[in-house]
C-alpha cells in the first residue's frame, strides 16, 4: 500500500553511532526483512521510522512525504503502525479492549463525545467490538476476550499485539522481532499471520535477529551491521555476500 524511502539516516548516543547513514527503500506491498547482529541498529532504525526516536539526520519518506522527526502518535495517524520487541499489551485491560485501542483514533474518544454523544459512540463501538471479536476468532483468542491481557502467555500476548495492529488497518507495518520469546508451537501461527498480511497487500518491514524467520518470509532483505547497510537484495544474493557470511552468518 505505502512505500517508504529512507535516506542518510543517522542517530548517535553520546559518541556511539547507533545508526550511521542508513539508506534503503521498502517497495509498496513488499515484506522486507531487516537482519543484523545485536547492536547493528535495527531497532533504532525501526524506532526512527515509527517516530519513537528522533533521528539526528536524514529523511524518511512515506509515499513522498517526509515523516522524519514526527512524534510517534502522529506517525501512527499516517498509517505507520509498529509492534515492540517485548510484546507490548495493556496488561490490566481485557484482550478485547486491547484490540479496541487498536482502531484508528475516532471521535468517540473525544471528551465531548464521552459526555454528550453517548448514543453515537455506542453504535460505532458495537461495530468495532464485532470486528475485534471476528479478529480474535481468527487468532484463536476468542475464549480469552474478557481475560486481562497481562494474564496471558508471552506468545498469546504477541497475538494480542498483532490483533491490535491489525485493527489499526496500517498502510505500513513495522514488526520488531515478532517471534522473540514465543513458544515453538506458536511461531508458525504468527508467521502465517504475517504472510497473510503480506498477501493482503500490506507493506511490512520485519526486523528480526533470527535469520531463519526472515528467510521463510521476507523478500527483499536488508542487512545492517554496525549502523550501516551492509547489503540489500534477495536472500540468495545476501547469503552469497562475503561480508555477510563473515559478519553474521558464520557461527
Amino acid at each position: 500500500m505505502s512505500e517508504l524511502a529512507v535516506q542518510g539516516l543517522r542517530k548517535s548516543y553520546g559518541g556511539v553511532h547507533a545508526v550511521d547513514g542508513v539508506s534503503f527503500e521498502i517497495p509498496s506491498g513488499s515484506l522486507t526483512g531487516m537482519i543484523g547482529p545485536n547492536g547493528a541498529g535495527k531497532s533504532t532504525v525501526l524506532g526512527m521510522i515509527a517516530g519513537a526516536i528522533k533521528p539526528d539526520h536524514g529523511s524518511i519518506r512515506l509515499d513522498g512525504h517526509d515523516i522524519a522527526g514526527l512524534r510517534s502518535h502522529r506517525t501512527a495517524r499516517r498509517g505507520v503502525i509498529r509492534t515492540f520487541q517485548a510484546a507490548s499489551v495493556f496488561p490490566h485491560m481485557t484482550v478485547l479492549e486491547n484490540l479496541l485501542l487498536g482502531t484508528p483514533p475516532w471521535t468517540g474518544e473525544r471528551i465531548y463525545a464521552s459526555m454528550f454523544l453517548r448514543g453515537r459512540w455506542r453504535r460505532e463501538e458495537r461495530t468495532q467490538v464485532a470486528e475485534a471479536l471476528a479478529l480474535l476468532e481468527r487468532l484463536e483468542l476468542q475464549p480469552h476476550a474478557d481475560t486481562y491481557a497481562g494474564e496471558l502467555s508471552g506468545g498469546q500476548k504477541r497475538l494480542v499485539e498483532l490483533g491490535r495492529v491489525m485493527m489499526a488497518r496500517p498502510s505500513l507495518l513495522l514488526l520488531d522481532e515478532p517471534v522473540a520469546g514465543v513458544s515453538r508451537t506458536l511461531v508458525p501461527v504468527i508467521e502465517e499471520i504475517i504472510a497473510e498480511l503480506r498477501r493482503s497487500g500490506l507493506t511490512v518491514l520485519l526486523v528480526e535477529h533470527e535469520l531463519a524467520v526472515v528467510e521463510r518470509l521476507c523478500s527483499p532483505v536488508i542487512v545492517l551491521a554496525q549502523g550501516r547497510v551492509l547489503v540489500q537484495g534477495e536472500m540468495a544474493e545476501v547469503r552469497a555476500h562475503p561480508e555477510v557470511r563473515r559478519a553474521y552468518l558464520v557461527g
Partner: protein, 335 residues
C-alpha cells in the same frame, strides 16, 4: 434533633461530599490515567482562595484586617465557577511545565516540590492571600438566603454540596466508562503502546490534569465557604496523601469505589480518632490520624492493592449467540 447534632451531621455530610469530589479528581488523574500528582492539594487550595477572593469583597471594606488579591463580591455560583476555572488554569500551567518532557517518576518529584513551594509562597507573600494567617469571614452562599434559620441555611449548603458531588460523579462516569476512558487507561497501562496506536498520551494527561484540578478546586471552594476560613496550615503537602490513600483504599480507577474510599479515609479516620479513649490533645489526635492513614495505605498496598471495590472489568455487548449459531451453519468450515 438538637441543633448541635444537626450541625454535626451536616458537617460530616459536607466533608464527605467535598472529599469525594476531590478524590474523584485525583482518581481521574492517578487511578485512571496514572499521573502521580503529588501537588494535588494545591489545586484544592487554589479553589478555596479563589472562591474567597471572589466573594469577600474588597479588603478595605472590612477594615483591611486581612490582605488579598482581587477582592470582589460576586453572587453565587460565580465564586465556585471562578474557583474551577482558576484550578483548571493553574493545572494547565503546571502541567505544561511538568507533564511534557519529564518521565513520570520525575514528574512526581517536581509536583512534590511545587506543593512545598506553593505553601511557602502563600505564607510569605502576605498580599496574595493574607500569608500564614489565611483568610477568614469567607461568606457562605446559603447564608445569603434571608428568611431562613441558620440551621435551614446549613442544610441548604449540604444540598448544594450533594448536588455538586452528583454532577462531578456524573462527569466521572461519563469520562471513565467511555472510549475516552479507555484511552486514559491505555496511557496508564502502556504509554508507548498507546502512542504507537496514534493516541497522544501527553494530551490525555494534560486533559485529566486540568479536569482533575478543576474538581479539586471545586472541593476547596465548597470547603472554604463552609468553614468560612482557609489558611496554608490546612493544605500542607502531606494532605495530598490523604487523597491518595482514599483512591488506593477505594480502588484505583473505580468511580464508586473511590467515593467509598474518600468517605472512609478522609472523613472516617478523622472521626474515628475523635472517639478513641486517648484524651483530646489535638497534637496527639492529628499525629494518630496520620499514623492510621499511613498504616491503612500500607496494609492496602500489601494485602489488597486493587482496593475495596476494584476497577470494573469492562465487558461489551456482543452479537447474540443465536446469530452466531446461524453464522456457523452458513459457514461450517469457518473460512
Amino acid at each position: 434533633m438538637s441543633a448541635a447534632t444537626q450541625y454535626y451531621i451536616a458537617t460530616i455530610l459536607v466533608y464527605i461530599c467535598v472529599n469525594v469530589i476531590a478524590s474523584w479528581g485525583l482518581d481521574l488523574q492517578f487511578g485512571v490515567t496514572g499521573v502521580l500528582n503529588f501537588a494535588f492539594i494545591i489545586f484544592q487550595a487554589a479553589g478555596a482562595y479563589t472562591a474567597a477572593m471572589l466573594s469577600l469583597g474588597p479588603s478595605s471594606a472590612s477594615g483591611s484586617f486581612q490582605h488579598y488579591l482581587i477582592g470582589v463580591h460576586l453572587p453565587f455560583p460565580l465564586p465556585l465557577i471562578g474557583a474551577m476555572l482558576v484550578g483548571g488554569a493553574l493545572s494547565a500551567l503546571i502541567g505544561l511545565i511538568t507533564l511534557r518532557r519529564l518521565r513520570s517518576d520525575y514528574q512526581a518529584m517536581v509536583m512534590l516540590v511545587i506543593s512545598v513551594v506553593a505553601t511557602l509562597v502563600a505564607e510569605s507573600v502576605i498580599g496574595l492571600a493574607n500569608g500564614s494567617a489565611g483568610l477568614s469571614l469567607i461568606p457562605n452562599p446559603a447564608q445569603a438566603l434571608s428568611g431562613f434559620t441558620r440551621q435551614t441555611q446549613t442544610w441548604f449548603f449540604v444540598g448544594l454540596c450533594v448536588i455538586c458531588m452528583l454532577i462531578v460523579g456524573a462527569v466521572m462516569y461519563a469520562l471513565v466508562y467511555s472510549p475516552y476512558g479507555r484511552v486514559l487507561r491505555g496511557v496508564r497501562e502502556n504509554e508507548s503502546a498507546v502512542e504507537a496506536m496514534g493516541r497522544n498520551a501527553t494530551r490525555a494527561r494534560m486533559q485529566v490534569f486540568v479536569i482533575g484540578g478543576a474538581m479539586a478546586a471545586l472541593s476547596g471552594a465548597l470547603l472554604a465557604q463552609f468553614i468560612g476560613a482557609w489558611a496554608p496550615s490546612g493544605w500542607l503537602y502531606p494532605e495530598t496523601f490523604v487523597f491518595f490513600t482514599a483512591v488506593i483504599v477505594g480502588g484505583r480507577g473505580s468511580v464508586s469505589g473511590v467515593a467509598i474510599g474518600a468517605a472512609l479515609v478522609a472523613v472516617g479516620i478523622q472521626q474515628a480518632v475523635q472517639y478513641m479513649p486517648i484524651g483530646s490533645d489535638p497534637t496527639l489526635l492529628a499525629a494518630l490520624e496520620w499514623i492510621i492513614t499511613g498504616l491503612v495505605t500500607l496494609i492496602f498496598l500489601w494485602l489488597r492493592p486493587q482496593g475495596l471495590l476494584p476497577e470494573r472489568r469492562r465487558r461489551y455487548r456482543r452479537a447474540r449467540p443465536a446469530r452466531l449459531a446461524r453464522a456457523e451453519v452458513r459457514d461450517p468450515v469457518g473460512t
